[in-house]
């Protein structure tokens, strides 16, 4: 898999990351060699193999519908850089 300029830009956009030109060039090279290695996986024959997301086979782990938390506003907003008494603040959103 070739890592193109366009792809690097797209990945930066998806991750909300901006790299310096130097880092960008290095990342292209690094991701190129990493993807080159990862592409080795194409050699593995997985025909008919069901993808396995959860390794254990544990199922139906659920909790009862009970109110057990809440009412700790200060703890929740205390780490925010921008806040007022009740809420976290962000630069104006448009939608």
């Amino acid at each position: 898999m070739e890592i193109t300029e366009e792809l690097i830009d797209y990945l930066q956009k998806l991750g909300r990351i901006r790299l310096s030109e130097e880092d960008r060039q290095k990342t292209m090279k690094d991701l190129g060699s990493i993807m080159g290695y990862i592409d080795k996986l194409n050699e593995l024959d997985t025909t008919g193999v069901e993808p396995l997301s959860h390794v254990f086979g544990r199922t139906n782990v659920m909790r009862e519908d009970e109110v057990t938390s809440g009412d700790c506003k200060d703890k929740i907003i205390s780490n925010a850089a921008r806040k007022d008494e009740d809420t976290i603040l962000v630069p104006r959103t448009f939608d």
Binding site: L19, L31, Y37
Partner: protein, 484 residues
């Protein structure tokens, strides 16, 4: 008991000394805090050292005296990797992104340490967000291996390994996503266990690869590690991936007999590229077990060739999702002079994350993005199914599988930073275990010709920590006897 004596004791020995009133938790805590003050300048194994632990130790001493606390680790100091949330105590994940984050809650494992009556003396250094194998990607500077100042301690739990090795903590907690407990334990010459996925609650462990992450104990010997597992394990209603399991029977660990047990050695674990010294030490250790009556057999495990691609696809995919919550809004690093939302996202993340984290986020975004999901992520989940099948087959034949922890002993500082692929390839022996979720322990098994520690990896069946701990303890005993 003086400080020098105290820090020589294993955690169980120290707990016993406290219960027998030969020393106190306060004395032990002070001994360690002093040792850290004196020596951690060299190692940088801690990010946060907690002076307030001394006051907590006094309260614990009272509770021990009143009979409220009776656990074998009551009063024993402990170090915790800085990716486990500690209420009111800085939890940085080794990152600028969380350099100022104070969690409002305790991780379940941390709560269990407190319930046992352990004293948290500090939070240990780590690769940023646990991404790395050298503890060099930390925002707070690299940790140095106590076995050689130009050597890395391994990672990502390098701080937790180094502090135990340097006697700056009797025992610690690490986390292991692809080898992050076992590999630093091996590099630093201590014992480290990655429990079965689900054995220890992940609640409060800052997520990296959610299907792979597991908290585990790092200690000076197998018994300390075994007892610590009992302290922190158990099903947690706050983590629906945790499972109900039995506690270890410590007497059975001590009395474990390897005779008649079967050991499988995967050929690929001893293939080309393996350091000669490492191979020799592990094979000598296996020989000892064989002489004690274990049956040893070599078997092929060709799927191992696909371990690293599969692992990096899965862990980066999960990581890019898990790390998206760091946006400069709710907590952590936030640039000041920003009045545009998109700019806030981009600057927070570009300035808050280090290069390795960014690289993995981009890799994760790539394998999940539309058009590539099937070719990469889905393919990795298929490979995961095949890897699990290979392990199921191996464990239908063998009680444990043994191999090295890493292809080499501790690397020179700076060696792998410049070449990420080379660093990833060093995870070849450990990542498979996380993919299938089985437990594995790293046990010290001698030294290289450069006098660097080597670890042997003992891998067990799902939830069969009992057997691998039995093997680990038996090996410890056999190797001691062999030396005498």
């Amino acid at each position: 008991m003086d400080s020098e004596q105290i820090i020589k004791l294993s955690a169980l020995e120290l707990g016993k000394a406290i219960r027998n009133k030969e020393t106190t938790s306060e004395e032990a805590t002070k001994a360690y805090l002093d040792a850290i003050k004196e020596n951690d300048g060299k190692y940088n194994s801690y990010i946060t050292v907690r002076e307030e632990a001394l006051a907590e130790a006094r309260i614990i001493d009272e509770k021990i005296a009143s009979g409220e606390l009776t656990g074998a680790f009551a009063g024993v100091p402990v170090a915790v990797k800085d990716n486990m949330c500690t209420e009111g105590v800085l939890t940085t994940c080794g990152s600028n992104m969380l350099h100022n984050f104070v969690p409002p809650y305790d991780a379940t494992a941390v709560r269990k340490l407190k319930e046992e009556g352990m004293v948290i003396i500090g939070k240990t250094n780590m690769d940023e967000f646990a991404m790395g194998s050298t503890t060099e990607t930390s925002f707070f500077g690299p940790t140095v291996n106590p076995w050689g100042e130009n050597r890395v301690p391994g990672g990502s739990s390098g701080g937790s390994a180094a502090c135990v090795a340097a006697k700056l903590a009797p025992i610690s907690l690490g986390s292991d996503t692809g080898g992050s407990i076992r590999q630093p334990a091996s590099f630093c010459g201590i014992t480290g266990l990655k429990p079965t996925y689900g054995k220890v609650s992940r609640y409060g462990l800052v997520a990296f690869g959610s299907s792979l992450d597991q908290i585990g104990p790092m200690g000076r010997d197998a018994l300390d590690v075994a007892y610590m597992l009992n302290v922190i394990s158990g099903e947690d209603p706050k983590d629906q991936s945790s499972a109900p399991t039995d506690k270890l029977d410590l007497e059975a660990v001590k009395n474990f007999d390897v005779s008649g047990k079967t050991i499988g050695l995967p050929e690929q674990y001893f293939a080309e590229g393996m350091d000669e010294d490492v191979r020799a030490r592990v094979m000598e250790a296996v020989k000892l077990l064989e002489q004690a009556g274990a049956k040893v057999e070599t078997f092929p495990m060709p799927i191992m060739d696909y371990a690293i691609p599969t692992y990096y696809i899965i862990c980066c995919a999960e990581a890019c999702s898990n790390l998206s919550r760091y946006d400069g809004i709710k907590y952590g690093y936030a640039p000041e002079d920003v009045d545009d939302l998109m700019e806030l996202y981009i600057r927070s993340r570009s300035e808050g994350f280090g290069m390795e984290v960014k690289r993995r986020i981009m890799l994760g975004n790539f394998v999940l993005s539309s058009g590539y999901y099937d070719a990469y992520y889905n393919k990795a989940l298929q490979a995961k199914a095949l890897i699990k099948k290979a392990f199921d087959e191996a464990f239908s034949k063998y009680d444990v599988v043994i191999g090295p922890v890493a292809p080499t002993a501790a690397l020179k500082a700076g060696e792998s930073l410049s070449d990420p692929l080379k660093m990833y390839l060093g995870d070849i022996c450990t990542v498979l275990i996380n993919i299938v979720g089985v437990p594995a322990i790293s046990v010290p098994c001698g030294f290289t010709s450069d006098n660097l520690p080597v670890g042997m990896q003992i891998i067990g069946k799902h939830f069969d920590e009992q057997t691998i701990m039995g093997f680990a303890y038996a090996y410890e005993r056999l190797s001691k006897e062999a030396k005498q």
